[in-house]
């Protein structure tokens, strides 16, 4: 007999409690009488209290003890099956995309891994347990935890490795946690463990089922456009992971239309290609003729559309105006415009436009609503920046003389840089509009000659650019974070489609999600309307290199694994029903057939 909830045995304390109750129950000296019914209406003495007397072994005591014992054993999960201890095999499956590399016979490492997993599970005894873990940056369970071994074949059919290169550490940790001290861990990969100075992973049977093969992969791809020249281009980096030159056909397609086809020889190592392209083409598919690993032989590239930030310099003529113009000219992707996205002006002239599309950056004497009484001061430091703010990314303010800082009303602004309790750069406004205020006299400070000045202006521009509608980039690697700013609040259901995968997105103007494997053309949609098309590509150099793949068993199972304790549920255990019947019968008998009727 085993106990699935040993703490439940504490309920056995009910038995001594019952005995104590019976022991201290009040008892009068007995007297045999005839005609007890004549005493029926006489006042009955309460039965509680009393002194300890010799414990009478009554039917009631026996039935109550039997009932308590049966219920205690049920609560403590008593099970009769001695086979509650079963083998537990945790298999960590290498989910990286190199597992799909196929040899000349069309057999992939994934196929060999499935065969080996089925072989291992078939060796397990009946009722043994199996957990299947997929490796990755976020490892997941394909089966289990501790599922029946007979479920493994069906789960393995669904296994389709698609993850980019990743560390096995997280997956191995999850597998070890699932196995604990009771299970055995096996890793199925196409490569040996990456352990510096060691060959084996302690307590883990590492089964490498890979096969070293030559492979040519697209390891980098970029699509550029020059609107001024009306030209576009695709830049590719191909890498030949073999010692011999490989001959390949390179095709560029838009839908079913071939745009470009070229025969190329790829020598061992990386090769860069630059392919001219006309502007305005939709997403193009770049394809190499297939080899061992098909998934790295293609790339989808979308023509990028850069987000231009409109800038207006309203600062009065002088050192400040000139310094700003110079700094802005060094930033790409900007244009001078009226009522622009980003307006630089004297702080006292900042007007609340109420438009969230306009950011105002003020310099000089602050507006009256945030100005406090007092004289302006100069500061040479120390400056206390809010380092996490994007505006101050890379800003040090070393050697800066901050001149003409006016005192500000407490609580009116959110300081980003302070000197003591004096805010020097502050943010104010509400959600409808964003204002930055430089509490600074541009004509006297040396900030505009310091290296921090162009950094501050560039940061401001990039912050503003990130708030403009559109994706941050148009082409991504699998696993990268995709950031998209929608032009307005979504009205329909947001979702994306990529390689047959349809995934819902949170309803928000600002979208962030991971580029899904295995990549392809990703469509961000609102309902049935496509908002953006993005390219998602594998571009994984490490997965494309199949030269280190081996077939070998490394290490051994943990010999100390004791097996996992399992149960098939109370309903299938005869002891549960036996205890239930005994307990219920004892309680009913004690209830329905009391030993002594209290009222004759």
């Amino acid at each position: 007999v085993i106990f699935t909830v040993p703490l439940g045995l504490l309920t056995l304390l009910a038995i001594p409690a019952i005995i104590v109750i019976h022991l201290f129950r009040r008892r009068f000296p007995p007297r045999r009488v005839a005609g007890l019914f004549l005493w029926r209406s006489v006042r009955v003495v309460p039965e509680s209290g009393g002194k300890r007397t010799k414990l009478p072994v009554t039917r009631s005591l026996i039935l109550e003890c039997i009932g308590a014992l049966a219920l205690s054993l049920i609560i403590s999960g008593a099970r009769m099956r001695p086979d509650g201890i079963n083998e537990h095999l945790v298999i960590l499956l290498d989910d990286s995309i190199s597992m799909t590399a196929a040899n000349a016979r069309g057999e992939s490492a994934r196929d060999r891994a499935v065969k080996r997993a089925l072989t291992e599970t078939s060796k397990l005894r009946a009722n043994s347990r199996v957990s299947l873990v997929e490796s990755g940056d976020r490892p997941g369970l394909l089966l289990g935890p501790a599922a029946l071994a007979i479920e493994a074949p069906e789960a393995l059919k669904k296994w389709n490795p698609q993850a980019p290169h990743h560390s096995y550490a997280l997956g191995l940790r999850l597998a070890r946690e699932l196995a604990g001290s009771t299970g055995r861990v096996m890793v199925l990969s196409d490569a040996p463990p990456e352990l510096p100075g060691r060959q084996e992973v302690e307590g883990v049977l590492w089964v490498a089922v890979g096969e070293a093969m030559p492979n040519v992969a697209i390891t980098a791809a970029q699509r550029t456009v020059s609107p001024d020249e009306g030209m576009a281009a695709i830049s590719l980096t191909l890498e030949n992971f073999s010692n011999t030159t490989a001959h390949r056909t390179l095709r560029v397609m838009t839908g079913s239309t071939e745009v470009l086809s070229r025969q190329i020889d790829v020598p061992s190592g990386p090769v860069s290609l630059n392919l001219p392209l006309t502007t305005g083409l939709p997403a193009v598919q770049v394809e190499l003729s297939h080899d061992a690993l098909k998934l790295d032989d293609g790339a989808v590239l979308v023509e990028p559309h850069s987000r231009i930030v409109g800038i207006e310099n309203r600062l009065p003529d002088g050192r400040g105006h000139e310094a700003l113009a110079k700094a802005v000219s060094a930033v790409s992707g900007v244009t001078q415009a009226q009522n622009a996205d980003l307006i630089f002006e004297a702080a006292g002239e900042i007007q609340k436009s109420g438009s969230p599309s306009q950011w105002h950056v003020g310099f000089g004497r602050p507006p009256s609503e945030i100005l406090a009484p007092g004289e302006a001061k100069d500061f040479v430091g120390p400056f206390i920046p809010e380092k996490r703010h994007a505006l101050l990314d890379g800003v040090t303010l070393a050697g800066v003389v901050w001149a003409g800082a006016s005192p500000l009303a407490v609580g009116k602004v959110h300081p980003l840089v302070s000197a003591g309790d004096q805010p020097l750069i502050a943010e104010f406004g509400d959600n409808a509009e964003k204002h930055f205020f430089f509490n600074l006299d541009l004509n006297r400070t040396n900030l505009i000659r310091a290296p921090d000045w162009p950094i501050l202006i560039s940061n401001l521009v990039e912050m503003r650019r990130n708030e403009l509608p559109g994706p941050e980039r148009w082409n991504y690697r699998v696993g990268e974070w995709i950031h998209i700013q929608l032009p307005q609040e979504p009205k329909g259901k947001l979702h994306f489609r990529c390689a047959g995968l349809d995934h819902d997105l949170p309803s928000s103007r600002s979208l962030e999600f991971v580029a899904p494997a295995p990549g392809g053309l990703l469509q961000v949609m609102e309902g049935d309307r496509t908002l953006f098309e993005l390219g998602v590509n594998l571009l994984d150099r490490q997965e494309g290199d199949l030269r280190s793949a081996v077939t070998r068993d490394i290490g051994a199972f943990n010999a100390q694994a004791t097996g996992v304790r399992t149960e098939t549920g109370a309903a299938l255990d005869p002891l549960f029903w036996f205890l239930l019947i005994i307990g219920a019968a004892a309680i009913l008998a004690n209830w329905c057939f009391p030993e002594a009727r209290r009222h004759a």
């Binding site: 009040r26 008892r27 009068f28 000296p29 007995p30 007297r31 045999r32 009488v33 005839a34 005609g35 007890l36 019914f37 004549l38 005493w39 029926r40 209406s41 006489v42 006042r43 009955v44 003495v45 039965e47 002594a596 009727r597 209290r598 009222h599 004759a600």
Partner: protein, 282 residues
Amino acid sequence: MSQPQIDWNSVQTVAAAFRIAAPRAPVGGRLGDRLGAGTGSSLEFQDYREYVPGDDLRHVDWSAYARSETLTVRLYREEVAPRIDLVLDISHSMAVTEEKLQAYRELSCLISCVAGWAEADARIITTAAAEPEPLRRPEDIERFLVCNKQKCALEESHLPFRRRSLRIVVSDFLFPHEPDAMVTTLARDGASLAMIQFTLAEEAQPPAAGGLRLMDVEDHGELDLILDEQAVEDYRARFNRLRLGLSRAARRTGATFVHITSGTPLHEVGRALVAARILEYS
């Protein structure tokens, strides 16, 4: 509980002073030496009535005819050996104490002796489930007085009584019952009924004894009680109601009823039975 011995000599000595009283109602039975309530051929004059053809001419009162010129016949009491159905309560309650059992056995033997000397056709009934046993010798009664039954015979229905018999019932009547219905049932078929309630003295007058666990000897019920004055008073009231119920029911049906408690000397018991017209002095 061991069976106490019966001192038959003492019982027979006391019993010699008594005999079964003639029942008020006519009872059936073969010819005997006990005067019956009906008309018969004994020497004891009973009444006159007009002669009707077929009357025994030897009983014509010629003197009366001389005086009134009307044929009149003398009627004499009949002499019978009465049918006695003796119902004994042999339930556990009659043996709740040795004292009660001993006194009950002596009372039963007294009645047995008196019935035997009357050469009556006596039978003993202890249950409805078995045929009544004839009482051929007074000593035969001793084997019935074991008192090990769970229920009193009176709690059973359809006791095997004979018509127009003299029914003597001895019990403590300490079981839940409806007096009128029970007594009517016992006295039907033209019977003459005599009920003797026999209890312990403390069953009729229990003392205040403090805390006790009362255990019924028949149904094994238990009751924890503090027998204080109030509790005893309550009990006495209920016991008296039970006794009065039996007494009234007996009066309504023409039966006799007497309550006898243990500890009463046997000759006093005999007197009590005479006072209740169940026995008479011989």
